[in-house]
């Protein structure tokens, strides 16, 4: 039996310690994923925290035959986009734009890559990072994003196109400067 499956059974029985171990197992991954959507670290932490609370309340409906994280990810991204909407409604755009940095680290030019990613929409950034950094297949992406595979194909294409445009624009402005 899968390690998650055992833990989830314990969680369903109300075992907090088991849930703590589940949180510990996935919190880093969840925080990293949340940061791709919510550039502000505190917002990302809040969203992850709320998502785990939601998950704890919904575990009874979780099908033990399925993997935990893809199921949890749907909850997490709902929380993240909810936070993003709330933030937009609070008119904190300036803050969002400035803090839209450091979703990734490493690479040839970390700062440049983060700057480029910051110019994409949260959805575009999310799908690109899931594809390039997590290496998910279209089927897995469809599951994570809760959309059909055809939509994944189209969204990924548009996100790449946008990324390419941003890069070209940056090159041009560098050339001009």
């Amino acid at each position: 039996m899968d390690a998650d499956e055992v833990v989830i059974r314990q969680c369903k029985a109300g075992d907090r310690e088991a849930f703590a171990s589940l949180v510990a197992r996935y919190q880093r991954e969840a925080l990293a994923h949340a940061r791709a959507i919510l550039p502000n670290v505190d917002d990302a932490r809040d969203a992850v925290q709320e998502a785990f609370i939601d998950a704890f309340g919904s575990l009874k409906r979780f099908d033990e035959g399925c993997a935990f994280y893809p199921w949890f990810y749907v909850i997490l991204r709902n929380r993240c986009y909810g936070a993003l909407r709330r933030k937009a409604s609070r008119e904190d755009l300036t803050e969002q734009l400035v803090e839209s940095a450091f979703a990734v680290r490493g690479g040839d030019d970390e700062v440049e890559l983060n700057d480029t990613l910051a110019q994409l929409s949260a959805e575009q950034r999310e799908i690109l990072l899931l594809k390039y950094l997590d290496g998910l297949s279209y089927k897995e992406l469809a599951e994570r994003l809760d959309v059909p595979a055809g939509t994944v194909m189209s969204r990924l294409y548009h996100a790449r196109n946008r990324l390419r445009d941003v890069l070209e624009l940056e090159k041009r402005s560098e050339g001009a400067g």
Partner: protein, 472 residues
Amino acid sequence: MTNEQCEQIRIAAAAWEDGETTAITREQIDAHVCECTACRDLIASLADLHSLFAGAERITDDYDVWTAVCEELGPAPSSVNQTRKILYVIGFGASALVFLLAIFFIQQFWKEAPVEAVQVDPFSTDSSTESPASIPKGTRPAGNHPSADESPRDPSLTSEEEKVVTAAIAPHLWETAESESGAPAPFSDESRADEFAIGVVEKVVKRGDFRFLPLKLNKTFKGRLPAGKFFAKDKMVVRIECSLPPKNLGNRSQLYKPGTNVVVYLLRDKASHWIVTSLVPITPGSEDYWQQRLQTFADVVLAGESDEPEKLFREMLVLQPNGGLESTLYHAIMIHPHPAARPVVRKLWRDRVKQHPVDPEESEMVGSISLIYLMRNLNDGEMVDEILKHALRQQPGTRGNYFSLLRILADYADADSRNRLKSRLESFLSDSPALETLDPVKDLKIWSDVSNAKHAIEYLNTLKSIHPDRKG
């Protein structure tokens, strides 16, 4: 060859590049790109993007989520699983039985014992006897975390500095005329306010709150912007000079040249900590420059300092350099959904749509702006209809993007707007083939539109059920 065919080929080629299969075969793609240079170049450039992410990984965060989750979940139940619960119940029952039996036998024993021996009955359950337990049953205050000091003061500020904050937002700083009227002002010398602002920025920098910018600030402060004004009680803008370590700046180096003036936006959060929300280099013509102008505009209008906000907004947009109109509009709507901006934005939107009635790239940009406009300008039924009309006349595949955005942004809409959206989407669905009859690969575009429309309707229904009485 149509644009639509090209796009289908490009989407399929990108999927093949990712190791996926599509209804369009590799051979069909190869045959197409032999003839179509545009597609060949684009496919090659998309493939190049892989290298951009080489060696990159997601940022990690060691934040302990569990502590916060645990607090939110409240106290844990006394038992952890059913078996243990049963065992506890049995154990507790047995103990209680033993306890009661013990009392019974002791009472029986004392009944038979000499009277002088019955002076203290430590096991008495008689309520008339003064109980040693002053804490009511089950209310012992156990397990409460020591509450954090929730003082509204910023711990990094002294009380004297707090006084300066209060003084700095005094009316005389808002209206310079008042200080000349003879009314005693706590700080008639505005340099005290500057001094305070400088102190706050220094402290914020010292606290290391610039997590997101590789920036070091010079201590050459130029004062506040606009001169002599705090925008609001919890908001402050300071103009300073900055310098940066040249390495790791990437394309920021053009913006943050040594000696560049930078505008620092500060807000006080709920706990009254000053936090830097934005740092804007004042490089004339840069996007940040315009954004800062917009923000200033919003602040000036919101502070009621302009008699003609619409005119001011229009003038500002005219000043916008070529090519940045969408960006300005977007920021204007997001930052400033003020009624003064609404008619200007509406006119610009209409002009833009006239210019690009059906254009995949432009219309998508206009579309996202439109939807944000739509959602942020509630109860504007006329615009709702116009925007939906615009969305529905887009090419297959693009409409789905609108619907998808709609789904995300529907939270902002009022009941009336949501109903309009829903009825338009339903009518779109009734005019389209059923999703089940479509092939998600072969009929990708229409399939994506229909699927996204269905998703959007489902989501709108959810919102309705969650917020049945929601008003705009």
